[in-house]
Amino acid sequence: MVQALNSALDVMMERDPDVLAFGQDVGYFGGVFRVTDGLQAKHGAKRCFDTPISEAGIVSTAIGMGVYGLRPVAEIQFADYILPAYDQLVSEAARIRYRSGGDFWVPITVRTPYGGGIFGGQTHSQSPEAVFTHVTGLKTVIPSNPYDAKGLLIASIEDDDPVIFMEPKRLYNGPFDGNHGKALSSWGQHPAGEVPDGYYNVPLGKAAVAREGADVTVICYGTMVHVSLAAAEESGVDAEVIDLRSLVPLDIDTIEASVKKTGRCVIVHEASRFSGFGAELSALVQERCFFHLKSPIERVTGWDTPYPHAFEWDYFPGPARVTKALLRTMENN
């Protein structure tokens, strides 16, 4: 997935002189996760450069550049560190088009790795998507595989509104279904691991059906797509797994159609549960599919605690917990 993201940036920098990339350690070094590797050498230091350690400053700079007319792609080194920039994203980026009556707008992309599973402890593991999805005026995108990662990142850069682009860091170097005892696998063997060289995009606002199924709809994104697919296999439940890809705008039609078909719904995310994005999904499904529901909508999520270093696998919502929810939801007919 790292190479796919790198390729998306490279392709867009090639096509559009107004695209540039910056962030902490993004320039000469190529990013601590190597996503911008080689871009400075190829496109020059003015188009791919290091910044001071100020997330607020990085986002402010991107906004200023965006209103000037560029399409900056800013990296926040870990999603855990995006909050110093929160006010800039919420009070400025998300509101500028609206409050200026369309006079100014902010075509920026803020990339940031999120999620656990890499022994990062409390401050290199968080999934803060819900504090963005609540913000009117921001889009939030999360890919689950290399093909989508490239296509969605290109679509995000081309989008004329601010996009928070969250990258599941546990998937950077291969798919991961939560079975952490298993041998690591690489994207090479995965169908969505194949990424075309040139330009293409995956439109924002369209979910993917990662697995078709008749009995339960599983709604998920990022790393949890692979966990949910594993759970579908392990549980033997014929689950339809929906990979949201973008949380805002949300593909409500795909969700609604699926739950109306299956009559059951399990929502999976890695973020802590209370007031998480799963709550909105649950509320929407309930509002739109109430009379089709055969059993309560379930949420399988991280616990309502920080992500503790030593208890990573106790915190991570793995396939065993999803399996339990799938089986529980099947109890009601």
Binding site: S54, T61, V67, R99, D103, L250
Partner: protein, 410 residues
């Protein structure tokens, strides 16, 4: 200063005078006009640190422009500046009256600070961008932003150019080089740096200017803006208007008790000027110097404009509750309109009569345009179409906005 029994004690800064006490500005050190040297624009910041602790002044007590910062400006230019400042004041008074009449719920004047926006407007070129504060009205006035649009926005009439989305005073006027305002203080200050970096990235010639209040220098953006400006040598002018007050708190609460705000710039390795903000000629010259530096690819400059907020913070404020009622009249740097008037008069290019006549003329204009806007109908009488509420959030609305708009039936 030590606490009783040798312990520590907490220092809480307090202004020299509170209501009922005699105003005291003895801490404002005022060097004679013309005394401060004017270094070449390519001087290294380290060689001009003193400027951050001085005060650039051009107009002396007799109204004569003196010293190295006295540029040769044509009388027409000065009259144009004077007019824009006066127009701002007349406009502010008309809006204040509208507030008392219940036409608007909120307004902010810039009384006493009109020189700053006017000089900025004159120094900036078409294509440059000002990232203003809510006290930068005179910039729009100098640029002849349509008064009717201004009133329509302030009254939130059906013709409001910002479609009813913004409070009074929070303008957006890209075509005039005026960036979108917001109620949050400070949060756009760094955008000027990003914008200027973009201009430099493109190999363009445009520069940016940003305004912030003394109180607001405490916000995060002040720091990040100065940091990025120094690192990338952004072509931007970073202006602090020190009008001595935030809302009810004096500039000592913002960190001005033991140093100047210009000095902050020195800390980041930037050139920093401290200027008599009520002296139009000084403001113009300092801004011009900084603009030349920026255009010559020499990077950012910090400017502290020393001024005084002569009226309440906004219509919601009552300054007599926290400062002497007559503090404004004791302000030692005078009133910017009076001082420029005095200079022009001294030059033989202006007179009391012409001044009175211009005031009358501007008052008529403002009265007439206000009448037109009021005829459209202030909020409550008319307003923009409610459907506007769901527009312009994204380039294209998503299903939520479409459904909700339908639900509201607009």
């Amino acid at each position: 200063m030590a606490a009783k029994d040798g312990g520590l004690s907490l220092h809480i800064p307090a202004p020299k005078a509170r209501p009922g006490e005699t105003p005291d500005f003895s801490h404002i050190v005022i060097p004679p006009a013309g005394e401060t040297p004017r270094p070449a624009i390519d001087t290294a910041p380290a060689e001009m640190r003193d400027l951050a602790y001085g005060l650039i002044r051009v107009l002396d007590d007799e109204g004569t422009a003196v010293g190295p910062w006295a540029l040769k400006l044509e009388p027409d230019v000065l009259r144009r500046a004077l007019r824009a400042m006066m127009l701002t004041r007349v406009f502010d008074n008309r809006m204040f009256a509208a507030h008392r009449q219940g036409k608007v719920t909120f307004f902010i004047k810039s009384t006493g600070e009109e020189a700053i926006g006017v000089a900025q407007s004159m120094v900036l070129r078409k294509g440059d961008m000002n990232f203003p504060s809510y006290r930068t009205t005179s910039f729009l006035m100098e640029r002849e932003y349509p008064l009717l649009d201004m009133f329509n926005q302030n009254l939130a009439t059906a013709d409001d150019p910002l479609q009813g989305r913004q409070l009074p005073i929070l303008y957006s006027a890209k075509a005039y080089g005026f960036y979108t305002l917001s109620g949050n203080v400070g949060s756009r200050f760094h955008h000027a740096v990003g914008w200027a970096m973009a201009s430099a990235y493109r190999g363009d010639t445009k520069i940016a200017l940003a305004c912030i209040g003394d109180g607001t220098t405490a916000e995060n953006e002040f720091h990040t803006a100065l940091t990025f400006a120094t690192v990338y040598r952004a072509p931007v002018i970073l202006t602090v208007t020190n009008n001595q007050w935030a809302i009810s708190s004096f500039q000592g609460i913002a960190g001005g008790e033991s140093t100047t705000f210009a000095a902050r710039g020195v800390g980041y390795g930037l050139p920093a000027l401290r200027v008599d903000g009520n002296d139009f000629l000084a403001v113009y010259a300092a801004t011009q110097w900084a603009a030349e530096r920026a255009r010559a690819n020499l990077g950012a400059t910090v400017i502290e404009m020393v001024s005084y907020r002569a009226e309440g913070h906004s219509t919601s404020d009552d300054p007599t509750r926290y400062r002497p009622i007559d503090e404004a009249t004791h302000w030692p740097l005078g009133d910017p309109i009076e001082r420029l008037k005095g200079h022009l008069t001294k030059l033989g290019e202006w007179s009391d009569e012409r001044h009175e006549q211009l005031y009358a003329e501007l008052t008529d204009t403002i009265t007439e345009v206000y009448r037109q806007a009021d005829a459209v109908g202030a909020l409550g009488v008319s307003k923009p179409p409610v459907g506007e509420m769901f527009e312009n959030l994204f380039a294209t609305p998503d299903w939520r906005l479409l459904e909700q708009r339908k639900e509201l039936g607009v």
